[in-house]
């Protein structure tokens, strides 16, 4: 992934010899005046980033004080790293941290490869109309909201839902408590992700596959290579780079286990294995107004995430591609 953002030449004035502050200010003023319309256009955007992105970052100060709404953030007593220390002493948060990493890990192992396999299968289709129909259908769930996906899942799997009705009437089984038995929590979360996003995930791989020179296949076929040999020696190497880069970047996001989805799936029965860092911050901060501690947990997560993403990107770059940033 590449964002060409920082290499546009700016025509800022070249470094100048010692000048008085006054004339430097004057030049700045001239420059501001010259760009006044551009700055005016950018004003809403600049205000947005300041108010809703950067002022909250200043608010992270809250993680280092014992916040009390009456004293305000600045007036609250300083407690330093106390809240961060609590993260590593509290068995509940250690459980939450573990849940986050475990669900994320399961997603990488089980959900990540599915789009690759789907893309390889789609790529083998010769009938373009059939290919387009299948593609359109498997993209579809991506556009449903998580509420709808989990709503449908709930309707199917609840005690008197479709699946349990089938189990009872066809196999004579007792209803299975899919939604309340913690054992089903993780498999359900993974299956939902696969159902919703697998088709969408094929886009990048299909694009990579479209770039393969078809003459390579013909040559290999003439040399007597079967379908699987062609796939192994031509198709897979062609998308290997894409796979590796996406995998590394996904690893950089192990602290994100799919916030909205998990929030909707949580209930009192699966809270212990399902609560992840993001939902924990919500319940602790918004639910119990323990602002300082929830902010500390959020900051911990954000910082680890930042380091992981930057390292992942560094590794991706080292592997010869361009990385994301």
């Amino acid at each position: 992934m590449r964002l060409n953002t920082l290499n546009t030449p700016t025509d800022s004035p070249p470094a100048v010899r010692k000048t008085s502050t006054a004339s430097r200010l004057g030049r700045l003023r001239t420059r501001l005046w010259k760009d006044r319309y551009l700055l005016l256009l950018g004003l809403p955007g600049i205000a947005y980033f300041l108010i809703y992105r950067y002022i909250p970052m200043a608010g992270l100060y809250m993680a280092f004080v014992e916040y009390s709404p009456f004293q305000g953030i600045i007036g609250s007593p300083w407690v330093g790293w106390k809240h961060f220390a609590r993260i590593f002493e509290d068995p509940e948060i250690l459980q939450v941290l573990w849940n986050t990493l475990f669900i994320s890990f399961l997603q990488i192992v089980f959900a990540f490869p599915v789009p690759i396999v789907l893309a390889l299968m789609l790529n083998e289709l010769r009938n373009q109309i059939y290919k387009r129909i299948v593609q359109s259908v498997i993209y579809l769930p991506h556009f449903l909201s998580w509420v709808v996906v989990i709503g449908i899942c709930t309707i199917f799997l609840k005690g008197n839902g479709v699946i349990n009705d089938l189990l009872k009437n066809v196999f004579g089984l007792e209803p299975i408590p899919f939604l309340t038995d913690p054992d089903y929590f993780r498999p359900l979360v993974i299956l939902q992700v696969i159902w919703k996003e697998a088709g969408w995930g094929t886009i990048l791989f299909l694009a990579a596959l479209a770039g393969v020179n078809p003459q390579l296949y013909e040559a290999a076929a003439i040399d007597g290579a079967g379908k699987f040999r062609r796939m192994w020696h031509i198709t897979l190497p062609a998308i290997r780079n894409t796979i590796v880069i996406l995998l590394i970047l996904r690893l950089g996001h192990v602290m994100d286990a799919g916030y909205e989805q998990i929030f909707l799936m949580l209930n009192p029965f699966n809270m212990e294995i399902g609560n992840i860092l993001d939902t924990y911050v919500f319940y602790k901060g918004i639910g119990q107004s323990d602002y300082s501690f929830a902010t500390a947990v959020g900051l911990f997560k954000g910082t680890v995430g930042l380091v992981l993403v930057l390292s992942a990107n560094y590794v991706a770059k080292k592997l010869g591609d361009e990385g994301a940033f």
Binding site: P56, A207, G285
Partner: protein, 290 residues
């Protein structure tokens, strides 16, 4: 074309068949919800699984649309999606244009935008800012805190920088200032790209529920997704739809839930044919090169 062996053909057949089955699995749950939402009360009670209703009735939909709270939440969502998308486009395109020109402080502004892709303050400090700006329980809370998606901003800027510089120069020689250039030249040129971003943002607003849960305490301001969560996931169809459910001849809660799912989804699916083309392009813009 080269000769295809028998083995190749069998693999092809299996592949075609498997993909068909996968496509069916993707579609089946949605189809089921659709059929049940149209099933009659009697049929719903008699048959365990209704893939094709014998008769299609609209009672669940009639019931739903006679519920004031449901209609209101649809109204909120339509409003937020329309206004929100306009705000998104206005904020994103103007700032993207500023960043695409050699403006003073360009480098530092770009760095600050880029940094928000990597790190954010998190939920609680943001919540307190939203609270501090007086947006709690206002539908602006669903719009302003997500007025710009930094990734979209950078992609749009990339698009603007690809417009030939000669166009700007010619316009400036003709006496146009940056505002005029933006309005008269850049915007008309970027219509297709703006349409793609409009669709992106509209889907985001339509499907958004978490900001609603976070910032809106009053049920009468809930957008449809929050309403739906209450009705289907939390399972409080009764409370969500208020006292109506107690009326006689009400359709079963399940068919109403499924009808609500359909109503909350169909607007997006209507956009889908337009979406697909643009989305695929949008995803490809500024992402992995094969």
């Amino acid at each position: 074309m080269h000769h295809r062996t028998l083995g190749d053909r069998i693999i092809d057949m299996v592949n075609i068949l498997l993909l068909g089955i996968i496509a069916l699995i993707m579609l089946a749950p949605f189809w089921y919800v659709l059929s049940v939402s149209f099933a009659s009360y009697k049929e719903f009670l008699q048959r365990d699984v209704v893939w094709f209703p014998r008769e299609w009735v609209f009672s669940a939909y009639e019931f739903l649309f006679s519920s004031k709270s449901f209609v209101r939440s649809i109204g909120v969502t339509v409003l937020v999606t329309a206004v929100g998308t306009l705000v998104n486009l206005a904020f994103t395109s103007t700032f993207a244009y500023t960043l695409a020109r050699p403006v003073i402080g360009q480098r530092i502004m770009l760095l600050l935008v880029l940094f928000t892709l990597l790190f954010s303050a998190g939920m609680i400090p943001t919540y307190l800012v939203v609270k501090g700006t007086g947006l709690i329980d206002s539908i602006w809370a669903l719009i302003l805190p997500i007025a710009i998606n930094p990734f979209n901003l950078l992609v749009m800027r990339q698009f603007f920088t690809s417009i030939p510089n000669e166009l700007y120069e010619a316009a400036v020689i003709d006496g146009a200032n940056d505002l005029k250039v933006f309005w008269r030249i850049i915007l008309p040129l970027s219509k297709p790209s703006l349409a793609a971003f409009a669709l992106f943002y509209a889907v985001m607003h339509w499907n958004n529920y978490f900001t609603g849960i976070l910032y809106l305490n009053q049920p009468e301001k809930w957008p449809i997704q929050v309403f739906l969560r209450q009705m289907v996931v939390v399972g409080e169809a009764q409370t969500a739809l208020s006292s109506q459910i107690l009326l006689e001849h009400a359709p079963p809660a399940e068919t109403i839930q499924m009808a609500a799912i359909i109503v909350a989804t169909v607007p997006i699916l209507v956009l889908y044919p337009f979406l697909q083309k643009h989305f695929a392009k949008g995803v490809m813009l500024g992402s992995v090169k094969g």
